[in-house]
Symmetry: C2
């Protein structure tokens, strides 16, 4: 056995630099009206997207995003060795029903809102090791299906507290390959579960920020990099409150990220004009922002080095009802275009 | 880039033969009274296992199984680079809450009842490629939490049809490494989603058998092996009905598996004496049977070559209520001790 393709305690080196060949995005109407709305491939006119239920609509978003990714990357579904994906719905049905007709070997993931980063990181490892020629990573979320499942029926009309975030409606998919044009992944830091005892399901940013700090600080320690290495450090959906918390926690550990850090939940929506309180959230928040906007910035070399870190809160509606706190996790990957 | 570590259309070659160093199991009382009950490390006296809810009990099973696996393999949790796992509960909380205190980087999976095979296969790839020194794979299920979530409240006392299966209560965990004593994994065939339109949530075997046939036949085609290569071909939880269906489908494709094929759901319970109708099911069915019984048979060289293939049905209670059929998937791996 050769040496391990690892550095430090928790980081994988992708020596063969898997390439993100193309992405596909399908977004809801509200998302299309936000600051990065022009970057999405497909826009739904309403929140059922021609289907009878919100859950079926979420699958339709996934199906459409995957189709766009295959088209934009130039890699037909028949050539893709594995699809990695999951979502927030119970039993990840958004993804399974959305992609079932493609006939691609499927590795189902559960990482809650971290799924885009989790999928990209596992796909990168399979490509890097020569276990696949092409892989895809996909995720989805839907405001209505998520509110219904995790919080209150929409018809109830409950007032949302200022700390609440707005689940992004849509789906995003990326196709990775061993060679070709596009940004490359050079290393991956998968996170540990961190649970600080937060039990308020309307304050996800606070629940996930400690996990984000854990992964981010470990990434810097493992790689010997500091924040200045990256043009952009971007978290998935910490929102306004979580962003401030992560900035503080990283700063206390000696890593000042304040001048180059942003959160997808604050990029995808205009908080003031779009009334999203603490910002966007959900699997598609990091998914659409990365696959739509950030990916384009990398391809156009407006960004050269990005640390993409999506966070997830791993509770269920039931576990919160049973008094459990919300365990957080964060997965990070370094993506560059040089 | 070198050649791909693949053969055929869908199979990964693990050239470095990751070793399953040890396993740990925690099982319910009914499981301990079955034909392989003596193989489990920890037995719960009742179905709440000292906790207040069935869901918390499921997490306790996971915590205990992981602890046993770390002890039995001789690899402390601090040395494990990744834990791969998931379960049937909404948002996979059985696993996340069960393993959160170990502090191991966590790659959450969703494969329903296929999770033991999915976890072993992804862990094997990470080890084989040198992306990890040690990995663990874990899964869990619980009769009470599963019935409550997928079918009817237990208090309702609904009659179970003959095609229904009995969700296994417990958790199983395996620790894999690059070197050491134990059975090794030489190749992995991850499956595609196959949906034949079955909508009866009390007939899971029928829903999953076509996916099992798809993966099994592809495995034989990719590897050039035929059933005689293996001492035992074992599916996860097809039960009595699914077993017959898979045997027929494989036979029609020219692969007679009838003299060496069994299903974990028919191994873990005595169908007649234990009143489990079509047999056992759930993530822990394949998990406990593999990590408890089959693993021991391999270590003692009573079995030399095993094809372990666990199947999953990817529906949710809600998707079935919305009239959706149940997509199946199966993941297979070849494990030998020579």
């Amino acid at each position: 056995m050769g040496v391990l393709n690892r550095i430090g305690k928790q980081t994988i080196l992708c020596k063969n630099k898997p390439v993100i060949l193309g992405t596909g995005t399908a977004a809801g109407k509200k998302e299309s009206e936000g600051p990065i709305g022009s970057y999405f491939d497909v826009i739904a006119e309403d929140n059922v997207f021609g289907e009878k239920t919100w859950e079926k609509a979420e699958s339709e978003f996934a199906r459409r995003a995957a189709g766009e990714a295959f088209k934009n990357s130039g890699i037909p579904s028949d050539n893709i060795d594995y699809l990695f994906g999951g979502d927030l719905l119970n039993q990840c049905t958004g993804t399974s029903y959305g992609i079932r007709d493609f006939g691609i070997p499927f590795i189902g993931l559960y990482g809650a809102c971290s799924t885009m980063a989790l999928g990209l990181s596992t796909a990168a490892v399979y490509i890097d090791g020569g276990y696949a020629g092409y892989c895809a990573a996909i995720t989805s979320s839907h405001f209505c299906s998520a509110e219904k499942q995790f919080r209150f029926p929409l018809e109830y009309g409950g007032q949302r507290p200022p700390s609440s975030q707005w689940t992004v409606t849509g789906s995003a998919c990326a196709v990775l390959g061993r060679e070709g044009e596009g940004p490359t992944i050079d290393c991956v830091t998968n996170g540990r579960i961190v649970d600080m005892g937060i039990t308020d399901a309307n304050n996800m940013g606070a629940a996930m920020a400690p996990a984000a700090a854990d992964t981010l600080i470990q990434h810097f320690k493992d790689t010997g990099r500091d924040p200045s290495y990256y043009d952009l450090i971007v978290s998935g959906d910490l929102g306004f409150i979580g962003k401030a918390a992560l900035t503080d926690m990283a700063g206390e550990a000696g890593f000042d990220i304040s001048d180059r850090y942003n959160d997808c939940g604050l990029i995808i929506f205009d908080r003031e004009k779009q009334d999203t309180h603490a910002g966007g959230s959900g699997c598609a928040c990091a998914g659409l922002t990365f696959c739509g906007y950030i990916y384009r910035q990398l391809r156009e070399k407006k960004l050269r080095r990005v640390l993409f870190m999506a966070t997830g809160a791993l509770q269920s509606a039931l576990s919160v009802q049973q008094g459990e706190s919300m365990p957080g996790i964060a997965h990070a990957l370094s993506i560059s275009c040089e």
